[in-house]
């Protein structure tokens, strides 16, 4: 069923939008938003509780920084999982030894 009041709302919202139509193509000018919360830097986005703008930009050095951190975390995860496996094997072995001692 067609929702007439919703379409009416959409049409009212569209009525004041200035666009240029060239056949199938529609274009419009974007206003530059100067809002106190609309920052676009990645570090502000990551560490601030305030609302950011729609697009977040990264400079090359921040991107390298993040890559470095991801690689470091990858390595850390690998070494920790190896350590965990060893600890698990040791635990199983000591449990078996304890069980053997208790039975004999």
């Amino acid at each position: 069923m067609e929702n007439r009041s919703f379409r009416k709302f959409l049409e009212e919202k569209s009525a004041n939008i200035k666009v240029e139509r060239q056949g199938q193509r529609i274009s419009w000018d974007e206003e530059v938003k100067k809002d106190k919360y609309s920052f676009t830097g990645f570090l502000e986005f990551a560490y601030s509780n305030k609302t950011s703008g729609d697009y977040i930009y990264l400079d090359r050095s921040t991107a390298f920084d993040i890559l470095d951190r991801i690689n470091w975390m990858d390595k850390k995860i690998k070494s920790l999982s190896t350590r965990l496996k060893i600890l698990f094997l040791l635990l199983v072995a000591s449990l078996l030894a304890a069980a053997w001692g208790w039975l004999t």
Binding site: S5, F6, R7, K8, F9, L10, E11, E12, K13, S14, I17, V19, Q24, R25, I26, W28, E31, K33, D35, Y37, T51, D54
Partner: protein, 394 residues
């Protein structure tokens, strides 16, 4: 209504913001208001002042703190009719018949009384001894102290029946002086001094006019979008047994209002907001989006379960502040225009833009999902390229 405001503000010190919304809420049929405040902050006084101003002495107040019997709230049997004619005639209680109804300390009502009042508010009728009484238009004002140790926990659907919940603050030093002066002027009986400002039919006439007042589709859309922001969850929290915030882990929309709302408000929130908007337009000649945001605070606060429920007023104010930003972003993105274009005609370029927008707005995403369904059926797009699949929701 201006006279009522004047007489009220003359006798009720502080909490001006609350008076404005309370006045607006009186302007629609079957108006219900809940006043929440610590003891001694004037919640009973405010309730009685409004009821006295509207109905003179023709209002009934029941108190949760005293023993309320069924006969006093709903009705009792007329014994002579039963004895002489064997007929069960019900004498309906003044509380159900009166247009002005008050409930003092609603959180201390027993479950039977609460159930009867809940039924009255839900269906506009009460039942006793197999007989029904249909309740006409009324004004119900209740108050409670949420910090009080109560006898019974009232169910959330009962609170949902209240159009608005108002929170009162205690008085500042200068306001205390003002109250002492007032008490001197009115002989320590503020309620008795309150005049009736309306004739019996005036309020009904006002409510009829407010009901007929029209609000612009843009503002109705604003109200619907605002409430939807508090309800929406692309992971379906309404029917999920996984609690928040666990359900939100890894969700694309975690920075939105939805991630701070555990229990979304009911659909009644949109209806009440629309009624309040109509009332504002009737009273002041205009109503704007910022007014709706102000009203929403009192409409949503008792209907919404927050992740951080410790300070509900602070939480709702913060979330509504975020909403202002979000509504601004929606306007800047021209998203409703794009949706309108897509409704009129499918265009791959606009669809791509709409998908980018939907990644920033879950409410918009929902609308796009339903359009995508249509396009998939019509063979305009494949299921794999839909946003739902892209977001991993299908």
């Amino acid at each position: 209504m201006e006279r009522l405001r004047e007489e009220l503000t003359r006798r009720f010190i502080g909490n001006e913001e609350v008076i404005s919304i309370l006045m607006l809420n009186l302007l629609h049929r079957k108006s219900t208001t809940l006043i929440r405040a610590p003891r001694g902050t004037g919640k009973s006084t405010l309730m009685l002042l409004v009821l006295k101003g509207l109905f003179g002495d023709e209002f009934v107040v029941i108190s949760g703190a005293s023993e309320v019997k069924r006969g006093e709230v709903v009705g009792r049997l007329h014994i002579p009719s039963l004895e002489k004619k064997g007929r069960e005639k019900v004498l309906w209680a003044k509380f159900v018949r009166a247009q002005g109804k008050g409930i003092d300390e609603a959180n201390r009502l027993n479950p039977y009384t609460t159930a009867n009042i809940h039924h009255l508010m839900q269906f506009g009728e009460v039942w006793a001894y197999g007989q029904k009484y249909t309740v006409e238009d009324y004004t119900l004002i209740a108050n409670e102290n949420p910090g009080d140790v109560t006898t019974f926990m009232q169910p959330p659907p009962f609170y949902d029946r209240f159009d608005i919940a108002l929170y009162l603050n205690s008085l500042t030093v200068s306001q205390k002086f003002a109250l002492q002066e007032l008490n001197n002027d009115y002989g320590y009986d503020l309620i008795k001094s309150m005049p009736r400002v309306m004739e019996p039919g005036d309020l009904s006439e006002i409510r009829r006019e407010v009901e007929e007042t029209e609000v612009e589709p843009g503002l109705i859309g604003f109200i619907n979008t605002l409430v939807r922001d508090f309800q929406v969850c692309v992971r379906g929290k309404e029917h999920s047994s996984v609690p928040l915030p666990v359900l939100c882990e890894g969700c694309h929309f975690t920075r939105f209002v939805c991630s701070r709302v555990k229990e979304p408000p009911s659909e009644r929130a949109t209806l009440i907001l629309l009624q309040l908007a109509k009332a504002k337009k009737w009273l002041d000649g205009k109503v704007e989006e910022k007014d709706v945001i102000e009203m929403a605070k009192w409409v949503l606060i008792h209907r919404t379960g927050f992740i951080n429920p410790e300070k509900p007023l602070k939480e709702i104010s913060e979330l509504l502040e975020r909403e202002k930003e979000r509504m601004f972003e929606r306007e800047s993105r021209k998203q409703w225009f794009i949706l309108n274009e897509l409704y009129n005609n499918f265009s791959p370029g606009l669809y791509r833009t709409a998908k980018e927008i939907a990644a920033e707005d879950n409410v918009f995403a929902e609308e796009l999902f339903s359009l995508e369904e249509k396009w998939v059926k019509e063979g305009k797009i494949s299921r794999e390229e839909t946003l739902k699949v892209g977001l991993g929701l299908e």
